[in-house]
């Protein structure tokens, strides 16, 4: 990858981080020669893989990514002109928030819809579906992002990343075996992705505002049938992955076999606690630095974090998202001003057009909570291989890397 691209790579992990696995430069979609030392060793391992199976997960992720970028560009172009009535206050709120709570636009994503931090404290080895979904879902590439509990899962993106790293070996027979095992693995994963996407589609048709979150929904009667299929396909994928890993173990790409083994180490996995998910396989664990009940208790005891006040007026100029980490924001699909009357949420049209509106929001306490993947995720390995070498047909910046 050339110097400019890497120089623009921003890795922010101030205190609490959420993963966006897509690498950042959206302009570079083609593979470029990599000025990386490992490249030299990996070069001869490419095989002719004309009829290699194509990963559905990566194709879908790329399409979603391009669609998001398309929307993003359109919105940037339309800013101030055709942007919907409702977009402006979101941008003002984004600015007010980053100003008042000290969040850096270079890392901060404001999320909607309304999401409660109500993750129950679990015993070691268990994780609630709400916590798992929130931590594992890859955020939208947008300054104001729509959290969707059925979105792409970070751990799957990580697995796909590991699977496209070239396993270098001098043994031609092993190369052929690895290539065949990779094909089988991709086909098994595609089966899994197909079933998973059907579940996602049914979920999105019937559930709004992530209530319940996707994995929890799999444990409810409408999701149960999908859960059974997902579990069954998952077993096939695990088997194919194991076969592939066994072969990679014999190759000699530094760190790759270790990263694969680390990712499959069930010590770093947790069982979902929710009723209805008892048969669901363990999921990669995520931990949070605090839990909501003790956090609230500390606030009530006067030992909590400081609060913050933020405000804006309708006369303020729209905030320019171009300085944020995402470089823009996708059109927000939620009405900004809403009021609940007789159990129904309706938009407050008076406020949308009011030119004298002034709003101030004060939080009694605001805090940053750290969430992090357990050691199934190998950050050092990802960084060392962020520019490949990848298997033929894959590049770092097409949304097809992690």
């Amino acid at each position: 990858m050339n110097g400019t691209v890497v120089a623009k790579k921003k890795i922010h992990s101030s205190t609490s981080t959420k993963a966006v696995p897509e690498l950042n430069d959206r302009n570079v979609l083609e593979t470029k020669p990599v000025s990386h030392t490992e490249r030299i060793h990996a070069e001869p391992t490419h095989l002719e893989q004309a009829e290699e199976a194509v990963s559905l997960f990566r194709t879908n992720a790329l399409q979603r990514r391009l669609a998001q970028l398309g929307q993003l560009d359109l919105q940037l172009r339309d800013q101030g002109l055709a942007a919907g009535v409702d977009q402006k206050p979101w941008s003002l709120l984004y600015k007010a928030l980053t100003d008042s709570i000290g969040a850096d636009p270079k890392t901060f994503q404001l999320i909607y819809p309304f999401t409660s931090w109500n993750w129950a404290t679990q015993q070691v080895g268990f994780i609630g579906a709400a916590q798992y979904n929130f931590c594992a879902a890859v955020p939208q590439w947008s300054a104001v992002g729509n959290y969707n509990s059925s979105g792409d899962m970070f751990n799957q993106a990580f697995q796909e990343f590991l699977n496209v790293i070239v396993a270098s070996t001098d043994d031609p027979q092993l190369r052929v075996q690895i290539s065949q095992a990779a094909d089988k693995l991709t086909l098994a994963t595609n089966d899994y992705t197909t079933v998973y996407n059907q579940a996602v589609s049914a979920y999105n048709d019937s559930v709004t505002n992530n209530d319940p979150p996707f994995d929890k929904w799999l444990g409810t009667p409408p999701g149960k049938g999908f859960q059974t299929q997902i579990i069954a396909k998952g077993i096939t994928v695990d088997q194919a992955q194991q076969n592939y890993n066994n072969l990679v173990d014999q190759a000699n790409t530094p760190g790759l076999a270790d990263a694969q083994t680390q990712f499959k180490n069930k010590d770093f996995y947790s069982k979902l606690t929710d009723p209805g998910l008892s048969g669901f396989p363990k999921v990669p664990n995520w931990s949070a630095s605090d839990n909501p009940s003790s956090w609230v208790d500390r606030i009530k005891a006067g030992q909590g974090p400081a609060g913050a006040t933020m405000g804006f007026t309708s006369r303020d100029a729209s905030y320019d998202y171009s300085n944020t980490w995402a470089g823009g924001s996708i059109s927000i699909k939620q009405v900004f001003w809403q009021v609940n009357v007789s159990g129904q949420w309706q938009s407050i049209t008076e406020f949308e057009s009011d030119q004298e509106l002034e709003v101030s929001i004060e939080f009694e306490a605001i805090d940053q909570i750290q969430i992090q993947p357990s050691p199934w995720y190998n950050g050092s390995f990802v960084r060392s291989k962020a520019n490949g070498p990848f298997k033929k047909g894959y590049s770092a910046y097409g949304g097809d890397g992690t």
Binding site: A7, K10, H12, S13, T107, I111, W117, P305, I369
Partner: protein, 231 residues
């Protein structure tokens, strides 16, 4: 991620909006402003929400005891595992609340300001938002030499800043890479040696270049979770 507790809203409107919205406000059980939901459990009166015809304002505090998730800090390639606190970004001054008197007493002079800014505002105490930010310590260095694994050094007699989080090196910024002089190559490993300004102690790290620029280039540890040897 950022979380918040017990939000209160105050909305001042025009006269026409006020009178038009008032009827709905009197019977409401909740208001949403963007992603924030303010619950008025049992109706606005029971929840203690108020309005003022003179000021044309609506005010209310959410009755919900559940914290809400406001947003997340995005990490494009999250660190994960042992080297969680390593950061590749420029260290930032922490933001917090500035109080007039010591011990978080007295008026709040400003919010979202750094400790230095608070001092310049005349505040006597300051409390950070959040509590888990890594403490980045920057140490100045001289006699910096940047040596590729093969070939001639790309920098000799340089100066620089090294950011540490605890014992871990996070980022090296060094120069001066003058015009017509060689630049390091992004992604390539180098050995950086030199001496700390404050203690006459030598250091040696294996690093990888992340930004190649004049006059200052940046490097991160090549093997970030291993303790580097320090002679």
């Amino acid at each position: 991620m950022f979380v918040g507790y017990k939000p209160t809203f105050t909305i001042r409107t025009s006269q026409s909006s006020f009178s038009s919205f008032l009827n709905k406000f009197k019977v409401t059980t909740g208001v949403r402003i963007g992603p924030f939901t303010f619950e008025a459990s049992g109706g606005m009166e029971k929840a203690g929400w108020t309005y003022s015809s003179q000021g044309q304002t609506f005010t209310g505090t959410s009755t919900s005891e559940t914290p809400l998730i406001i947003g997340v800090a995005i990490s494009e390639l999250p660190q994960g595992g042992a080297n969680l606190f390593l950061t590749r970004s420029e260290p930032q001054a922490r933001k917090g609340v500035c109080y007039r008197f010591a011990g978080r007493e007295g008026d709040i002079l400003a919010r979202g300001v750094s400790e230095e800014e608070c001092g310049s505002l005349g505040g006597e105490s300051w409390a950070p938002i959040g509590a888990l930010a890594p403490a980045i310590v920057t140490r100045d260095v001289h006699d910096v030499r940047v040596l590729p694994l093969h070939g001639d050094p790309v920098l000799t007699n340089g100066i620089g800043h090294m950011d540490f989080n605890g014992p871990n090196l996070v980022l090296v910024r060094c120069g001066i890479f003058a015009q017509n002089k060689p630049l390091p190559r992004v992604g390539t490993e180098y050995v950086i040696t030199g001496e700390y300004d404050d203690h006459p102690m030598p250091f040696r790290y294996t690093v990888r270049c992340t930004v190649a620029a004049r006059p200052v280039s940046q490097f991160v540890p090549a093997v970030s979770d291993l303790e580097e040897e320090q002679p």
